[in-house]
Structures are given as structure tokens and as C-alpha cells.
């Protein structure tokens, strides 16, 4: 079966070469605020279409096309570029957007300093937004743009973003991050930046003071995030942009310094690729378990059996639209759990067999309903979870060891008693029959 699949997949991939690159689908709905023009984002949208996505545009107030129809998500990805829209159509509510995530639909959402339904939705994702009307402000480095338009250094080595990108232009609202482990910070604010309601820096001291007095944290510094990814438990991804301008043609074409174009274009493409589940997508193809020296799984295992657990993992290759065996995970663990993990061992890749991870261990000396649990959650990567229930039973009545050396006294006792009994009976029957008479006589006395 596996072999067949490996054979078939490249063929299928070739056939679908012209199709989308996402692992979940190619239909994208873009909710575009009327105040924003499609042309202003032509590079970004054009890149998406070049990759093979089918873009559908819709104003936030339009009723059609619906994003969820009959409880089925109609698009594989939803882009909400409506940072200033205060009221959406009835089907676009924070609740419906969240429910999209559990239907494995990816979201790309843009925020703005304005208070909109989206900014209250952001708090459900453990993003903490500054008060309305306080965009990110930075006076460094010295430049001719307003202080709210900031060049931000992109981390040189980041899982999601291409390495060594030039800085990107950013304008918008920063987010402080809650302690939700599902958050994937993509772009951090420059250390000198802060959120302020004033365009000039006159109020900056007052802001710090206010923050001190009221005991609030400070919306300042590199702990703020500007672009934040979120990987939901359903493996759907949502990305929050601090400002929609980040993806605009304007910023993409704007020069960072003389002759150096900004990194916005590649950055936008990388963020979209991650959000639309093109990159960093893994899956568990299959799980096998069997006793050592056997090939088929057992319905139950006996305590102290030696058991081999194998899992096959693939990574999505967006270039070929293909799932390829992936052996790059070095820190995966397997737990053998009944209430608590009884065994926790590393699940290493097998050299020479791509995509195969395997470990052999001894089942604990404890019967019960165990689970092979593989729970691999890393920031930015698809969550890999697999749980296989298998009962572990005590040995059958005929599986216990026999003829133990410790039992020899008992064997000796049993056999000697039997022999003595036979001897006694023989003697009794063959003996003189005067004896019993005498004893009878004695009893009579």
C-alpha cells in the first residue's frame, strides 16, 4: 500500500502541477475593505494567483459569497483585509471566524489602530492590543518617513521567513503576546518602538508615566509582535498582521535605503505560504506497532513483551504539491501511557528509510489499557498527534514459566507423598490382618 502510494504520488503531482500550492486547498476568499483598493495590493495578490490560488473578492458588507454554507467552509483560506470595517455582514462574526479554524480553514487577518470587531477577536488569540488609536511609533533610525512608518529588521534566521531579508516597512498596531503556546511570533517590533496615541513624541514621557502609575505593562520594545502566527489545535493557521500596509504595493516598492528594496514582497509571500499551510506542514502517514520478530499488530500485548512502534511522517512539498517522507525530526518522543506515561522514549528517524521513525521498548510490567502517544508540537510546525489504544494483559494461563527451580521442593514433596501412599496401601493390603482386629479390640475397650 505504501509502496503503491509512493509510486502514484509523483504521477498525481505532475498532473496537478498547475494547481495550488497549499496542502489544504486553493480557494481564497479576500474580504477587502472598500476603502482599500485591489490595485494597491496587486503584487501580493498577483503572487498568490501566480502560485495558483483562486482569489475571490468580497466586500465585508456583502452577503455573498458566504464563508460558511450549511456548516461547511466554502473556502480553504480567508483573508480579512478589513482593518477599518466596523460592521461586517451577518455571516462574518468573530465566532464564525473562529469556527472556520476548527473547519481547517486558514485565516490571514489585518489589524489597525482602530477599534473593530477584529481587535476584540484578537484577544481570543491571546493577543493583547494597545488602546485604540495607538499605532507603533519609532524615531529610529532617522529617516524621512513619518514616525509611524517604520523599517523593521527581519530576523536573519527564522523558521518561517526566508533568510537574510532586507528590513520591511511596517505601519500599524503592535500586539503584546499572552502566554498561549500556540502563538508563533513572526515579526517583532524594533527595540526603540512603542505604541503611542500621538504622532509626535511629546506625549511619550506621559505614556511611560501612565503605564507606571496604573501598573500597566508597557507597549514598547522588542517584546511586542507586529506579525503573529497562530497554530490552532485543528492545525489551521491564523496570522495577524499589525497593519495591512505591510503587504501593499506601496511598501513593497518603497526603498529601505538607496537602491535597496524593502523585503516586504518576500516577507508577504513567506507569511502567506505559512498561513496557507504551504510550508512547515507535516503529517503522520501511518502508525504501526508489533511485537519484535513479528510483523502484524496484536490486539493485545502481554506485559514485558518487546514491542516495536513505527510511524511514518511526511512533509508537504509546495513546489511539487506532494507529500514527501520526512526524516528531519530529531526530537520526537513516544509515550506509552496509562493515566501517566509509563515509558517515555525518543522516537528517532531510521537512517536509510526516509520518513520512518521507530523505537523498540519493553512493555511495562503492568496490565491495563495503554496508549501509544506521539504528541509532537513545535512552534510553526503542524502539530503531530497520534494516539493508539492497546490493552496490555497479563500472561495467559499457559504462558507462565514452568518447572522453576524454586518449585522443586514442592514437586519432591508431591511425588514422595504419592510414593509413600502407594507403599502404605501396598503394605496395608498385603500385611497381616491380625493387626486391624487387635486395634478394633482396643477401640471397643
Amino acid at each position: 500500500m505504501r509502496f503503491l502510494r509512493q509510486l502514484l504520488l509523483p504521477v498525481l503531482a505532475l498532473a496537478s502541477l498547475a494547481l495550488a500550492r497549499s496542502s489544504t486547498g486553493d480557494s481564497v476568499l479576500i474580504l477587502l475593505d472598500p476603502s482599500l483598493k485591489k490595485e494597491d495590493f496587486s503584487v501580493f495578490f498577483g503572487d498568490l494567483e501566480k502560485k495558483g490560488y483562486q482569489l475571490t473578492f468580497r466586500s465585508p458588507k456583502d452577503a455573498t459569497p458566504e464563508i460558511i454554507k450549511d456548516d461547511v467552509a466554502q473556502f480553504a483560506h480567508v483573508v480579512v483585509f478589513a482593518p477599518n470595517t466596523k460592521s461586517f455582514a451577518a455571516d462574518v462574526t468573530p465566532q464564525s471566524l473562529v469556527s472556520l479554524l476548527s473547519k481547517n480553514t486558514n485565516l490571514l487577518l489585518a489589524l489597525s489602530p482602530k477599534q473593530t470587531p477584529l481587535s476584540s477577536l484578537a484577544s481570543e488569540f491571546s493577543l493583547i492590543l494597545p488602546p485604540p488609536g495607538t499605532p507603533l511609533v519609532s524615531h529610529f533610525p532617522k529617516r524621512d518617513t513619518p514616525p509611524t512608518v517604520i523599517p523593521v529588521d527581519v530576523p536573519a534566521t527564522h523558521d518561517i521567513i526566508s533568510p537574510n531579508l532586507p528590513p520591511v516597512w511596517f505601519s500599524g498596531v503592535p500586539q503584546a503576546l499572552g502566554n498561549n503556546p500556540m502563538l508563533v511570533p513572526i515579526l517583532k517590533a524594533p527595540p526603540q518602538a512603542f505604541a503611542s496615541d500621538a504622532d509626535s513624541d511629546k506625549g511619550a514621557d506621559a505614556l511611560v508615566e501612565a503605564a507606571e502609575k496604573s501598573g500597566e505593562g508597557l507597549w514598547a520594545g522588542s517584546s511586542l509582535s507586529l506579525v503573529t502566527g497562530f497554530q490552532a489545535l485543528s492545525n489551521a493557521r491564523a496570522t495577524w498582521l499589525g497593519g495591512v500596509e505591510l503587504f501593499s504595493d506601496d511598501f513593497i516598492n518603497k526603498e529601505i535605503s538607496k537602491g535597496v528594496k524593502s523585503g516586504n514582497r518576500q516577507f508577504a509571500s513567506d507569511v502567506a505560504a505559512w498561513t496557507f499551510q504551504e510550508s512547515h506542514v507535516l503529517r503522520i502517514d501511518s502508525v504501526e506497532h508489533h511485537r519484535v520478530n513479528e510483523t502484524l499488530p496484536r490486539e493485545t500485548y502481554t506485559i514485558n513483551d518487546r514491542v516495536t512502534y513505527t510511524t511514518y511522517i511526511s512533509k508537504y512539498n509546495p513546489e511539487l504539491d506532494l507529500w514527501e517522507p520526512y526524516s528531519g525530526i530529531k526530537d520526537m518522543q513516544l509515550e506509552f501511557t496509562m493515566l501517566d506515561p509509563h515509558i517515555r522514549t525518543s522516537l528517532p528517524p531510521i537512517a536509510g528509510e526516509p520518513g520512518k521513525y521507530s523505537v523498540t521498548f519493553r512493555v511495562p510490567d503492568r496490565h491495563g489499557v495503554f496508549k501509544f502517544v506521539n504528541d509532537y508540537k513545535r512552534k510553526g510546525w503542524t502539530y503531530l498527534t497520534s494516539s493508539t489504544v492497546v490493552p496490555v494483559v497479563p500472561p495467559r494461563h499457559d504462558e507462565y514459566p514452568r518447572f522453576l527451580s524454586a518449585a522443586w521442593p514442592y514437586y519432591a514433596g508431591a511425588f514422595s507423598t504419592s510414593a509413600a501412599f502407594v507403599l502404605f496401601v501396598t503394605l496395608w493390603l498385603a500385611g497381616d490382618d491380625r493387626e486391624p482386629k487387635k486395634s478394633k479390640g482396643a477401640k471397643a475397650e
Binding site: 473562529v98 500597566e216 489499557v369 494483559v393
Partner: protein
């Protein structure tokens, strides 16, 4: 010798003997029929269904046995019970019942009678009740005679005390255990009487069957040694006793150790030590007797007896030492609870929470035994008058069983046979005395005294004609043997003058007493039938109520809910409920359960108790950890079903408190005044508990704005009911008796479900502030 009425004289003794034995067989057959028929009320009134709780497990186990064979059953590891611990069924049950059904099933199928295994299970208990009647007949026959045996058989056949555990569908260990108990005792008495190794071995074999069938075998394990010890102390040691006891103990103990669940208990636990001790004592006594037979010196004998005592004492010390060292397990809590009825409530609430472990209420003695309980002491007194070895047994049995029946309701079952036996002895003595036509001789010469008398001792065989002198002797012997009742009357009469003749004169007095006795029997039959049909024949899986027009209305919520689970949930969906319903869920819904009626793991039960009595957010991690998909509760508030979970709730709290005393405290579930309330004034812990919330979730809505009333507690439920964030209502049965909730999956955004729920309802979240990881530098 005067006679009250004449008996036919032209019958040969052989004819009489043959007729009476035929009549006995017919009578026994009729008794069996009556015993079986009276147990079929449950089938007639309801249907052929397995009753209650434990039988559902036995039934499930029997199905495994019938389908997969004995070895698979032996090695059966039930991974759906006690999830995720699982249960080694083969090693934790008494397989006798299932094996019996399996044998019957296989025999019937070998005869090409394709009987459904369920029907075998349903009808096993009535079938064995017929055998119980027969074995009680045999037992009582050894005590007195056949007529007493027949009476005992009738009594045990229809006594509600035994019917309560053996109606059709009550497929429990007790169904066959009482037969085995009585037959083992019969064999023991027979072995003791004859001193036969064969009967001793038979005793051991039936003892083995009993051990394989019921945990109550410990009763035999201690009754027989107690009897033997009493006989030794009474100076009645004999080679018969030695033979009977030694063969029983040696073979019986070895055999009982073959049952996996018993294993090495017979040599390792205190409950079995009495049997071992008496076995040892018997060897010593036998040895002493042997020496005494060969040695004539009286001093030597006294030294010998001294040494016997010393050895006995050493044995006791050795026993104590071994217990102290841990070689012998000390008494278990269940044992202590037999002596101190408050013990269980204090230390092992799991035992105390079972209603059948409560002390017996006085009326239930009458309910279960009716007039037998009144004449039971008379029968015991009659045993004292003769006091052969076997009578000592009945006396000990009566005393011990009476005590235990007073301590625990369920032990009424072990009392019932001895009550039937003793009552039969008393009743048969009464009938013997009053049916016997012999009248006492009046010293003043009368016409009757002159007539040649025909002696007819007892009621069985009229003896051959004798002279009046012989008749006198026979009558005197009668007075001491069969006509005991008159003897008792004589003993009680104040005069004590031998000159005055005692006895019964005339037909009228006889007719009066016999009519009265027959009346008692008649009322006994009526009572038994009434109690059986009304009180003991309810399957408790199906409830019955009456429509306004008097017709029967069946409330079938349990099966409705269990079948819902069976058909609408994945096969491996784990269901959490209180342990009472574990077996039923496993049997009817076929879903894994957390805890069930085999209460072997107190901590696991306490975990469920904690989940039920904690607030949702505390309970949720427990539910997730145990992979619980559904929670099932029983709620009787709508139709007034009093056996629901809110009424059992305090036991959950108590059991949880036993394990987590810091987190769960019973007083928190009472109001400040110490009342157990579910209305507006309910204690906060009560109102926040998962059990309360699940019980009353949306209950008030049912009343459409009117005041909602809980009909079990008789309290008014708040109009705004509790809300649930971590559970979804999945199913509620027609009369709301069973409510099933689905445990929600974790939130995809990683929020706690309460927040997620309030978000879904569109509630505004409080604005949060950035976490201050470090202090801002000023």
C-alpha cells in the same frame, strides 16, 4: 392405649412404605414446581430480562464463556472495564455461576436444543431453587425425618428471603450458592454421622463448587470448623468426626486453591485460619486419644491433656506471630464491618454505601420469613432436646446466621435456610404430636383404655399391633423423640406430677390446632406470593408504575439511554458514571466504563466521586485524563425516582473525601443549618458541583416559567438553572431518569472552555494588559 381416631389396620408395612415414598416424590416434585413457578413473576410481569446490576456482568461473562470457550474466559482481560486500568476478569471472579450456565448451554446445544444463553441465565436461579428445596429436604431429613424435610423444602422453596435473590433474571452467584451451601452442609452432616471418607470427599467437592461460585464460601469455611470445635469441647470427639473433618479440610482446601481468585488465601488470610487451626487441633486430639487408648495411667493422660492445651496455645501464638510478621493477612475491613456496624461508614465508605450492606431493619425479618421467624426459636429449642451431633450444627448455624442477618441485609440469605430447617422441625413436631391418634391413658378406668391399642408412632408407618405395655414404652419413647412438642408442654407445665397424664385428648383439640397450623401455612403461602410478586420481582432495569386507570405503565428509561449510547457513540467512547451503573453500561450499552460494581479500586471510584463533586473546571482535567467522552447520570427529580444520583451524591463526596480530604469536604455540601438541599439555599459547593449541574441543567425550563419542583427531594428548584461550559447535553431519556452529557473537546484556540463558551455567546471579554515580564526602566 386409647386412640382419638382409628387407622386402617389391613395395610402391609411395605405398602405403607411404598406409598409414602411415592407421596414424598410427588410432594418434592410439586415443591420444585412451586419454587420455580413463584420465581417467574418477574418474567410474567415484565419480560425475560437480566435484573439489577451484578447479574449484568455475570451475563456478559457467561456470553464470553459460551462464545469463546472456557480458556478464553479464563484468560479474559476486560479492557473496557475500569478504564484505563482494565480488569483481569478470570482472576477476579468466582467462575462457578458462569461455568454452570456454560455447561448447561453446551449440553443443551449438544442435544440440538438451541436455547439462547440469555434464557439459560434468566432461568438458572429458579431451576436451582428447586435443587435447593431438594437439598434442604435431605438436610432436614438428617435432623428429624422425612416429613420435616418436606416441610423445610416447602419453606425454602417459597420463602421470600431466598426468593429475593433467586427470581428469574436475578442471575447472581447466590442463585446457585444457596443450593451448594445446603448440599455441602448435608454432605458434612452425612459424613459426620457415618464417618465415611466418601461423604467427607463429597463435602469437599461441593465445598469446592461453592468456593468457585460465591465469596460467601467463607461461611462454610468457618461453620464446619466451629461445629467440629464445639463437638470437641463437648467431649464428643470421635473417629467419625476426625475422618469427616480431615477429608473435608484436606481435599476442600486444596481444591479451593485451584480457583484463581482464591489462590493462596486459604493459607494466607485470617478468615481461613479457623479451619486450619481446628484441623491441627483434631490431629492433636486424635493423637491424644490414640495414646490414651494405649496408656492406662491417669496421670499420664492429664499431662497429655495439659500438653494439648499448651500446643493449642502455641498454635495461637504462632498464628498471632505470623500475622504480625505479615505472613498471614490480617482481617479485612469487610470482616470488621461484620462486628462493628459503624466501622464501614467510618473507614470504608465504599462498603457502607451499598444498601444491602446496611443493618437489617426488623420488619424485613417478617417480610422475608413471615411466621417462620416466630417458630424458628422453637425449632432450635427442639434441637437442644435431642442434641445429637447434627443438632449442634443447626444450633450453631442458627446463632451465627441470626447475628449476621442482623448486621447486614444481604446476609438474610444465609439465615433463611436454617430458619426453614428449624421451623420445619418445630412445625413437623407440632403436626406429629397432634396428628398422632394416641391419647394418654387416664388412670381412671375407661372404656377406651380397655380396648386393644394399635400403636402408630409418628405419622409415617403404623407399627405392628403391640400389647398395651409395649405401647406405653413406645409412647414414652415417643415423648422424648418425635412427640417433642408435648414434651415441651410437659416441661413447661407447673405441676410436674407424673401421676397426671399429659397429652392431647379428643378430636376437637386436635382439629383446632391442626386447623390453626394449616391456616398459618396458608397465610404463609399468600404472604410469600404477595411479597414475591410485588417486592422482589422488579428487574430494576425496567420500572413499573400505574396509570390512573390501574393498568401497568412501564418506564424504560434505562434501556432507552443505554441503547442510545450503543447506537450513537463510537465503540470506544468511554462513559463515566457512578459505579452502580458500570455493569449495566457494559452489558447493555457495550461501552467502556471508568468504574463498575466490582468495587476493587477505591481510588478510581474516588476519582469519579471527585469529578462528580467538583466544579466543572476542576472536573474537566480529570475527565480528559481518563479519556472520558460521555458522562451518564441518573436523575429522578422529574418523576420521583428516589434511587438517583443526587441521593447517592453524599456517598460520592464521602468516598472522594477519603482520598482527597483537602479538596473535598462533606460539610461543604450541606447548608449552614446542616440541611441537604438542592433549592435556592443549596450550599455553594453543592451548586457548583458537576453532579448538581448535570442533574438540574435545563430542568427549570421544562416547567415553562412555573416553579420547578424536584419530586424526589420535594424542593423547589431555582428558576435559573445551572449552566455548563465543559459538557454538552447529549441525551436525556423520556422521563429524564438517565441524562447523558458529552465532554467537550479542548478549545482549538487553547482557551479554557468557559472563556470559549462566553465568547461563543457573544459576551465581551475584559480588556487585558500586556504581561509585565520585567519592570519598565524609568
Amino acid at each position: 392405649m386409647p386412640l382419638a381416631y382409628t387407622l386402617p389396620s389391613n395395610l402391609s408395612p411395605a405398602t405403607v412404605a411404598n406409598t409414602s415414598s411415592l407421596l414424598r416424590i410427588v410432594a418434592l416434585a410439586l415443591i420444585s414446581g412451586a419454587a420455580i413457578a413463584s420465581r417467574l413473576f418477574a418474567v410474567v410481569n415484565f419480560e425475560s430480562i437480566i435484573h439489577e446490576f451484578d447479574p449484568w456482568f455475570n451475563y456478559r461473562a457467561t456470553k464470553v464463556l459460551a462464545e469463546k470457550g472456557f480458556y478464553e474466559f479464563w484468560n479474559w482481560f476486560d479492557h473496557t472495564a475500569w478504564y484505563p486500568l482494565g480488569r483481569v476478569v478470570g482472576g477476579t471472579i468466582y467462575p462457578g455461576l458462569m461455568a454452570t450456565s456454560g455447561v448447561i448451554y453446551n449440553v443443551l446445544h449438544a442435544l440440538h436444543l438451541p436455547v439462547d444463553i440469555r434464557n439459560i441465565c434468566v432461568l438458572l436461579a429458579p431451576g436451582f431453587s428447586a435443587l435447593t428445596a431438594w437439598s434442604t429436604y435431605m438436610f432436614t431429613k438428617e435432623m428429624k425425618d422425612e416429613s420435616a424435610g418436606l416441610l423445610a423444602a416447602v419453606f425454602i422453596g417459597i420463602a421470600p428471603g431466598y426468593i429475593s435473590r433467586s427470581v428469574a433474571g436475578s442471575y447472581d452467584n447466590e442463585a446457585i450458592a444457596i443450593f451448594l451451601l445446603m448440599y455441602t452442609f448435608y454432605c458434612w452432616i452425612k459424613a459426620l454421622k457415618t464417618g465415611s471418607v466418601l461423604y467427607g470427599t463429597l463435602t469437599a467437592l461441593f465445598y469446592f463448587y461453592m468456593v468457585a461460585a460465591w465469596g460467601g464460601y467463607a461461611f462454610i469455611t468457618n461453620m464446619i470448623p466451629l461445629h467440629a470445635l464445639t463437638l470437641i469441647l463437648m467431649g464428643r470427639f470421635s473417629s467419625r468426626l476426625y475422618t469427616a473433618y480431615s477429608s473435608w479440610y484436606a481435599i476442600g482446601t486444596l481444591a479451593s486453591m485451584q480457583v484463581p481468585f482464591v489462590g493462596f488465601q486459604p493459607v494466607r488470610t485470617s478468615e481461613h485460619m479457623a479451619a486450619l487451626g481446628v484441623f491441627g487441633l483434631l490431629q492433636i486430639v486424635a493423637f491424644a486419644e490414640l495414646v490414651r487408648a494405649h496408656v492406662s495411667s491417669k496421670q499420664f493422660q492429664s499431662i497429655l491433656f495439659g500438653s494439648v492445651i499448651v500446643i493449642g496455645l502455641l498454635g495461637v501464638f504462632a498464628f498471632a506471630g505470623l500475622t504480625y510478621k505479615g505472613w498471614i493477612a490480617p482481617w479485612t475491613g469487610r470482616f470488621y464491618s461484620l462486628w462493628d456496624t459503624g466501622y464501614a461508614k467510618k473507614y470504608i465508605p465504599i462498603i457502607a454505601s451499598v444498601s444491602e450492606h446496611q443493618p437489617t431493619a426488623w420488619p424485613s425479618f417478617f417480610m422475608d420469613l413471615q411466621f417462620l421467624i416466630f417458630i424458628f426459636p422453637a425449632g432450635v429449642v427442639l434441637c437442644f432436646r435431642e442434641l445429637r451431633d447434627e443438632h449442634v450444627f443447626v444450633i450453631i448455624y442458627a446463632v451465627v446466621a441470626s447475628y449476621f442477618a442482623g448486621v447486614m441485609v444481604r446476609l438474610m440469605l444465609t439465615l433463611t435456610p436454617v430458619v426453614c430447617v428449624a421451623a420445619a422441625i418445630a412445625f413437623s413436631s407440632l403436626l406429629d404430636t397432634y396428628i398422632d391418634p394416641v391419647e394418654p391413658e387416664v388412670p381412671v378406668a375407661s372404656t377406651e383404655a380397655e380396648t386393644p391399642a394399635r400403636d402408630s408412632p409418628a405419622n409415617v408407618a403404623p407399627g405392628s399391633a403391640t400389647t398395651s405395655k409395649k405401647a406405653k414404652k413406645a409412647a414414652a419413647a415417643d415423648a422424648s423423640s418425635s412427640g417433642l412438642a408435648s414434651g415441651v408442654l410437659a416441661a413447661l407445665s407447673p405441676s410436674g406430677k407424673s401421676a397426671k397424664p399429659r397429652g392431647i385428648f379428643g378430636l376437637d383439640s386436635r382439629a383446632l390446632v391442626i386447623a390453626n397450623a394449616l391456616g398459618m401455612l396458608l397465610f404463609f403461602v399468600l404472604h410469600c406470593t404477595y411479597v414475591t410478586s410485588t417486592a422482589y420481582s422488579s428487574p430494576s432495569v425496567v420500572l413499573a408504575s400505574q396509570n390512573p386507570d390501574g393498568s401497568q405503565h412501564i418506564i424504560d428509561d434505562f434501556r432507552e439511554a443505554y441503547y442510545w449510547l450503543r447506537q450513537n457513540t463510537p465503540q470506544d467512547a468511554v462513559v463515566m458514571s457512578w459505579w452502580d451503573y458500570g455493569y449495566q453500561i457494559a452489558g447493555m450499552a457495550d461501552r467502556p466504563t471508568l468504574v463498575d460494581n466490582n468495587t476493587w479500586n477505591n481510588t478510581h471510584i474516588a476519582t469519579v466521586g471527585k469529578a462528580m463533586s467538583s466544579p466543572e473546571e476542576v472536573a474537566y482535567p480529570i475527565l480528559r485524563k481518563h479519556d472520558v467522552d460521555y458522562v451518564l447520570i441518573i436523575f429522578g427529580g422529574l418523576i420521583g425516582y428516589s434511587g438517583d444520583d443526587i441521593n447517592k451524591f453524599l456517598w460520592m463526596v464521602r468516598i472522594a473525601q477519603g482520598v482527597w480530604p483537602e479538596e473535598i469536604q462533606e460539610p461543604n455540601y450541606f447548608t449552614a443549618k446542616g440541611e441537604y438541599r438542592v433549592d435556592d439555599q443549596a450550599a455553594p459547593a453543592m451548586k457548583n458541583s458537576l453532579m448538581y449541574k448535570m442533574s438540574y441543567y435545563r430542568f427549570a425550563e421544562l416547567y415553562g416559567g412555573n416553579q420547578a419542583v424536584d419530586r424526589v427531594r420535594g424542593q423547589q428548584v431555582p428558576k435559573t438553572g445551572p449552566t455548563l461550559d465543559y459538557l454538552d447535553e447529549a441525551f436525556t431519556s423520556e422521563n429524564w431518569i438517565v441524562r447523558i452529557y458529552q465532554v467537550k473537546k479542548e478549545d482549538p484556540l487553547g482557551r479554557d472552555l468557559k472563556t470559549a463558551n462566553s465568547f461563543d455567546q457573544g459576551k465581551k471579554r475584559k480588556k487585558s494588559k500586556p504581561l509585565s515580564r520585567r519592570k519598565a526602566v524609568v
